[in-house]
Subunit: 341 residues, 2 copies
Amino acid sequence: METLKQDTSALSLQQEYAASLPSILAARARIQPYAHVTPVLTCSSINAEAGRNLHFKCENFQKGGAFKFRGACNAVFSLPEETAKQGVVTHSSGNHAAAVALAAQIRGIPAHIVVPKNSPACKIANVERYGGNVITCEPTMESREKTAKTVQDETGAVMIPPFNDGRVMSGQGTVFVEFLEQVPNLDAIFVPISGGGLTSGIALAAKALKPTIKIFAAEPMGADDAAQSKAAGKIVTLPEVNTIADGLRAFLGDLTWPVVRDLVEDVITVSDCEIVNAMKMCYERLKVTVEPSAVVGLAAVLSHRFQEDPRHLNCNDIGIILSGGNVDLDALWTSISQSIQ
Amino acid sequence: METLKQDTSALSLQQEYAASLPSILAARARIQPYAHVTPVLTCSSINAEAGRNLHFKCENFQKGGAFKFRGACNAVFSLPEETAKQGVVTHSSGNHAAAVALAAQIRGIPAHIVVPKNSPACKIANVERYGGNVITCEPTMESREKTAKTVQDETGAVMIPPFNDGRVMSGQGTVFVEFLEQVPNLDAIFVPISGGGLTSGIALAAKALKPTIKIFAAEPMGADDAAQSKAAGKIVTLPEVNTIADGLRAFLGDLTWPVVRDLVEDVITVSDCEIVNAMKMCYERLKVTVEPSAVVGLAAVLSHRFQEDPRHLNCNDIGIILSGGNVDLDALWTSISQSIQ
């Protein structure tokens, strides 16, 4: 099976994955009334530093402050009326939680959000701002899953997983469809990778619409499960992760991994110091608020590993997904100060 | 004369000012190959707080990081070839300095920028990044003017004033022409005011293109010369200014003042604390990097003085100029921490 995959064109493979160009285009039509078409920014001084033309797709300006709204909105609006009435549930301490709450609020159905009790106050406030019903649990995956299951059993709410779900992957893939319309001459695209929902959605859309494009994933060295998975040829999980990029601490799922395995050119890892430098560049020169997880793509483009790889010298026009901008400024500053000392 | 002005329609008065709709439209055509059409952002959670629909014109994304490039570019490209060859000169410690250097670099002529020697390193670095010839002087207006005069005498360079100049006012007025195309239903517009170049350019364009629109200027309480000038009916200067908004410390000029006097509805003053709150809102919710001077319009819209004024209840769609995003993040953080303690 593995051999067959490698011999077949990427396009014809799409039927095997949990999402496909048709499901991504359907997602685009479904979320279009609710999601922003996010702008693409450029910056000549950053281009000079990178030696390439960089195009920044600003999902930090998406509803809810991150790309996550696309997948959550597609999943929530995919539900049949009768099912939707029971509400939705998810467990997350980050952008997916707020995205599900917002999508449910727009559809007018209940959203139950299970949140570890050590989550930052600002993240919980985001969920509550969008009318989500916050349920706290212990800060372990076991407690999160058990609490969510209880909510499901009690309310009949439907689980909206953060990434390992065809509807969510399809929603995230809409980023690329939009991006290619805005910048048709993209040679490569850099995507932050965590659970792989965004990367797999984008890769499936990209390889169908422009098969020559190179898809790079970027992740922190302190949470390099995707790079290790690519190297091992199977999903690798880590006993612990350690990075400033709080949105990139999840591991690949069984639906996202096959896409990453087959369609992603390379996974480039970057240090927290490189992440902080890329953030500073985004704030000071691109003039946008981004969260640490959002800038790993830029950090990867600027890295020696990419810059000096002769195979990639012809990547002139590079798309970079700035995935989100939800930060607690005070907390961010403290963590940056600590990480650069 | 004053009585006559008040009796005549705003439109017919424009011939009396240093800029006019025709000069603004000519500026637009002149700078169009070089300047960005900046995006307009909206944010539903800020709208909820303001009780109005706010449209943010993001001049922080302009070339050089501020609206100043429009006026500098128009002035530099207005020069006849023979004159331009001699180069340009200005004295400034802020965004105008970098804007003139960048415009001159694009035209391929020398730019001599006189900079007070206590200017922040990042501002000087900006000028140098754009190829400007930095000449330091003592941190007094007298030394700035004298040094600039010496440069003029020695090189034949043309002075590009920061605001009190018809070419500069016309360039700044292009912000409004663009903005109205992007958001035709604007009822009012809020503009940060310092020397009055941006406010007067915008007011002249606005009153010509949409006479019913209300123009509000906003400034810090600690540098409220424009509000005092409006109250006194003549230009008032202050013995000292004290505000976090370092770009709003200049006083009105004899070319900008008549426009502010005749066409600006009101000047609303805001405290440094209101400025910091508005900045935080821009960073955390609108996801943009702005400098303190850029957010006085937002702070003014949110102020009791505006919100509770019955004359302005019908201002539903409000345009806010975010004038620039050039900040030294480390220095900014320190000054914010001090100002909110």
